[in-house]
């Protein structure tokens, strides 16, 4: 009989190795999946993991890597802070949308004025929008004890409706001959989140993501707030004993993750995407949950996880184009990554033992 025995302490080796092992297992299981679909698994895996970086068209895909990784990392860093405290913001997608709307809204309000102050204002507005949207589940939780998972998730669908309404109404391009969608912010220099170094995909969102990683790392390891957040997640009763105000932690964690998600939305709408459109959001807010866990809820881990996840996005697209793999297969592949990570994770806290079952 196999039995699981709890380790006295989480194994350091397993904690570091398990993301790598999860990636390998995903490749194996994913390869099997692709084989069943009639594709050569080696080619499929190579298309997803290798071609975007070193393939024939890598010059096109490499910038995409940063463009796709930046919002994932920015959102995941915020989410991970809350997750460490046991506060589950599942609605980053909604905060991302609202941040994009408020950010773009501020920019569009100034159109066509040109000023160096407009973009910073938009950044602030984006963060504030995401923060405000996250405050709804936060305040409801603190005040009435509602479940933040449900409320934040439901607000995603509300945010999508708001987005549609804005794209068709208030923010619609007056010169767009009635087509839904706002003015293209890429054509409005003061509001455009342009590439900082041409051909690299490096934009302000990438910079913001890196800054967020560094700040989150310092806060979680050195600052009393990070300590209180971790303590709340590890042992809520001990946290109260240590003088932590649980309501404050809820507001803080949801606030930070909302603001970072809002920022991500704002950088996306002013840069790579360019305009507020009905289907502007592509699920970064949800994928970031996977990224947060894949990165062990650790800011530096999330940096790598975000890049890896961006890679599977891009590689998945290539696989869809070149091998005509169904989109669902690629999504399943990404899901497997989280599945295997959580499965392998067990071994950092438990060890497996064999024991002979004796006859009664």
């Amino acid at each position: 009989m196999l039995i699981l025995e709890k380790r006295a302490e989480p194994s350091k080796g397993w904690t570091t190795l398990s993301p790598l092992l999860a990636v390998v297992l995903t490749m194996v299981a994913g390869g099997a999946l692709f084989a069943i679909l009639g594709e050569d698994p080696v080619v499929a895996i190579r298309t997803i993991f290798w071609d975007p970086l070193f393939g024939e068209f890598a010059f096109y895909y490499r910038p995409q890597l940063l463009i796709k990784a930046a919002p994932l990392i920015l959102i995941a860093v915020g989410l991970a802070i809350g997750f460490r405290a046991g506060i589950w913001n599942i609605g980053a997608e909604g905060q991302y949308i609202i941040g994009a709307l408020t950010g773009a809204g501020v920019g569009l309000a100034f159109y066509p004025m040109e000023s160096a102050l407009i973009f910073p204002l938009m950044v602030l507005a984006g963060a504030a929008g995401g923060w405000a949207w996250a405050m709804i589940p936060a305040v409801l939780k603190v005040r009435f004890g509602t479940n933040e998972i449900l409320v934040s998730l439901m607000l995603v669908y509300v945010a999508e409706q708001v987005l549609a309404k804005m794209a068709l109404g208030l923010l619609r391009n007056p010169e767009g001959s009635g087509f839904p969608g706002s003015r293209n912010l890429q054509q409005y220099p003061s509001a455009h989140n342009a590439e900082l170094i041409t051909g690299t995909g490096m934009h302000w969102g990438v910079v913001a993501a890196l800054i967020a990683v560094i700040f989150a790392y310092i806060m979680m390891t050195r600052h009393i707030l990070g300590y209180q957040i971790r303590l709340t997640g590890e042992a809520p009763r001990a946290a109260r004993f240590a003088g932590v105000n649980p309501a404050r932690i809820v507001l803080l964690c949801l606030g930070i993750s909302g603001a970072l998600a809002g920022l991500a939305g704002m950088f996306e709408v002013t840069g790579p995407s360019g305009q507020v459109s009905i289907d502007f959001n592509v699920g970064y807010g949800f994928t970031a949950i996977i990224v947060a866990f894949l990165g062990r809820l650790h800011p530096v881990g999330i940096l790598f996880a975000g890049l890896l996840m961006a890679l599977t996005y891009i590689g998945g697209e290539i696989a869809q184009l070149n091998l005509s793999l169904p989109a669902a297969a690629v999504q399943m592949f990404q899901g497997m990554l989280l599945f295997f990570l959580l499965a392998v994770d067990l071994f950092s806290n438990y060890r497996v033992r064999f024991r002979r079952l004796e006859a009664a």
């Binding site: 009393i224 300590y227 303590l231 042992a235 004993f241």
Partner: protein, 505 residues
């Protein structure tokens, strides 16, 4: 039939890194109450688990009724006539007594017949218990009766009891002892695990003493003193905590009319509690578990805010202050539950030292934690309180209960409290460590601090406290000088008898 019921010879069991039992041999006679005595970690539990079929011995044999006995699982042990009452009950609160008992049976009889059997057995053995009552409404003592009756219905030849009195009032202990004596007279053998020496002397015919997994002695408890048994248990002669008589000073902590509604359905509300704790004294608060101890600690530590004016420290109202505000003023506390309340299980000792130490040890500057300083403080706690650990970086959960308790108590003591509130300071701690903790509490009081010690261990309270009170259903009894108390009075205080107040009034 021979005189011996169960004969154990050469039983050994090793776990990775520890030898739980080594070459343990002894006999239990028919109808004998046999004590198994030892410190925490002496191997009592493992030994009993081997007899009950929960653990398979590495070596050694057992004979029951002159037949080889090697139960592979508890069911086999029960079939052979061995029953066990665990320290922690496994009962469903939402079910009745009879339903709970039926759940543990292989083939339960019809409910009506079972209820009749329960009534019969409970009357025969003087264990008043009504089969229809919901377990959720029963006291700890009554729940234990459910477990005992569950065992008795199997007509056991050997009944194992694991620290049965830890949850009982003195009066309930008397009832239990009467039952056990009657069982013994009927020829049932009882293996009685405890570390309460006076109980063993009162009840048991023979005692086997374990130390570090080995049998060190078998004796007749009535013929040796409690002190001798304690020394055999610990292996060295140790001193009972000593105190220098000291004058008590001004009021340090004053609690007046403290009432607090229970935060959960299973909590206990505090009702109109008033007392004054003076500088230099140890005030002991006894009582059976679940009578408001946790709630009193959290009201005093600042985890729960109370009505303005209900708690004051050196004359300053602190009722609305949080834990850190109170720490700053010199009121420190150590809760009962080590893992999850006093310490975070998965965090390192350094991080756990910062949990309460950040404020008074100056570990914070501008909101940033000074980890090297926290590490230094942790090392002081480890060395000052003899915490056995590979180092300050290990997770709290990897320490044994006793070591973590020393760490938790040491963490508060080293912060030089004016007032220290502790709940169950030596719970689950081996005798030597417990003695050290008690001595530290007394030393703290000698140096002028005020200590409020909440405990369920009466011997401990009688040993260290100057004055004694008891909690019962959230009410605090009258507080009396410990030196003037009799055991009967204590029992009545713990049981919430209020006529006592009048007698002493």
């Amino acid at each position: 039939m021979s005189e011996t019921l169960l004969s154990i010879s050469g039983l050994s069991k090793a776990y990775p890194g520890v030898i739980a039992n080594e070459d343990v041999s002894f006999d239990i006679r028919r109808g004998e109450v046999h004590a198994l005595l030892g410190e925490n970690g002496a191997g009592k539990s493992t030994l009993v688990k081997m007899i009950y079929g929960l653990v398979k011995p590495d070596a050694g044999t057992m004979r029951l009724n002159d037949k080889s006995f090697a139960p592979s699982e508890p069911r086999a042990a029960r079939a052979a006539g061995v029953a066990m009452v665990f320290q922690h009950f496994s009962l469903f609160e939402a079910l009745s007594v009879a339903e709970n008992i039926a759940l543990g049976m292989e083939t339960p009889p019809p409910m009506r017949a079972l209820a009749a059997r329960i009534r019969e057995v409970s009357q025969d053995y003087g264990l008043p218990l009504s089969p229809e009552r919901l377990v959720g409404d029963l006291s700890a003592g009554e729940r234990q009766r459910v477990e005992i009756i569950r065992c008795l219905l199997q007509d056991p030849r050997l009944l194992i009891m694991d620290e049965p009195t830890s949850v009982l009032t003195p009066q309930e202990v008397e009832i239990l002892f009467a039952t056990l004596r009657k069982l013994s007279a009927d020829g049932v053998s009882i293996l009685y695990i405890s570390h309460k020496l006076e109980e063993i002397r009162a009840l048991c015919h023979t005692a086997t003493i374990l130390r570090q997994g080995r049998k060190v002695a078998t004796c007749t408890p009535k013929d040796v003193s409690a002190r001798e048994m304690a020394e055999m248990m610990v292996g060295v002669s140790f001193n009972a905590a000593t105190r220098s008589s000291r004058p008590t000073g001004d009021a340090a902590l004053t609690v007046e009319g403290l009432s607090l509604k229970a935060s959960s359905q299973f909590g206990t509300s505090l009702k109109d509690i008033s007392f004054t704790l003076r500088q230099g004294e140890v005030l002991g608060i006894g009582g059976v578990a679940g009578n408001g101890q946790d709630e009193l600690l959290s009201a005093l530590s600042g985890e729960t805010a109370t009505d303005p004016g209900s708690i004051s420290l050196h004359g300053q109202d602190i009722s609305r202050l949080g834990p850190n505000g109170r720490r700053r003023l010199g009121l420190l506390s150590a809760p009962e539950e080590r893992l999850g309340h006093a310490a975070a299980p998965n965090m390192s000792l350094v991080e756990n030292a910062a949990l309460t130490g950040a404020e008074r040890q100056g570990l914070l500057s501008g909101g940033f934690l000074n980890w090297p300083a926290a590490r230094g403080f942790t090392k002081n706690v480890i060395s000052g309180f003899d915490v056995r650990t590979p180092g300050p970086q290990v997770a709290a959960r990897s320490l044994s209960g006793g070591n973590l308790q020393k760490f938790v108590i040491g963490r508060e003591m080293l912060q030089k409290p004016d007032v220290l509130v502790v709940n169950q300071p030596t719970w689950g701690v081996d005798a030597a460590a417990a003695a050290a903790i008690r001595q530290a509490i007394l030393d703290l009081a000698t140096n002028g601090a005020a200590v409020l010690c909440i405990s369920q261990d009466l011997d401990e309270l009688l040993e260290i406290s100057d004055r004694f009170g008891a909690l019962n259903e959230g009410r605090l009894s009258l507080i009396l000088q410990t030196s003037e108390l009799s055991v009967d009075e204590i029992g009545l205080m713990m049981g919430g008898a209020h006529e006592l107040d009048a007698a002493h009034g």
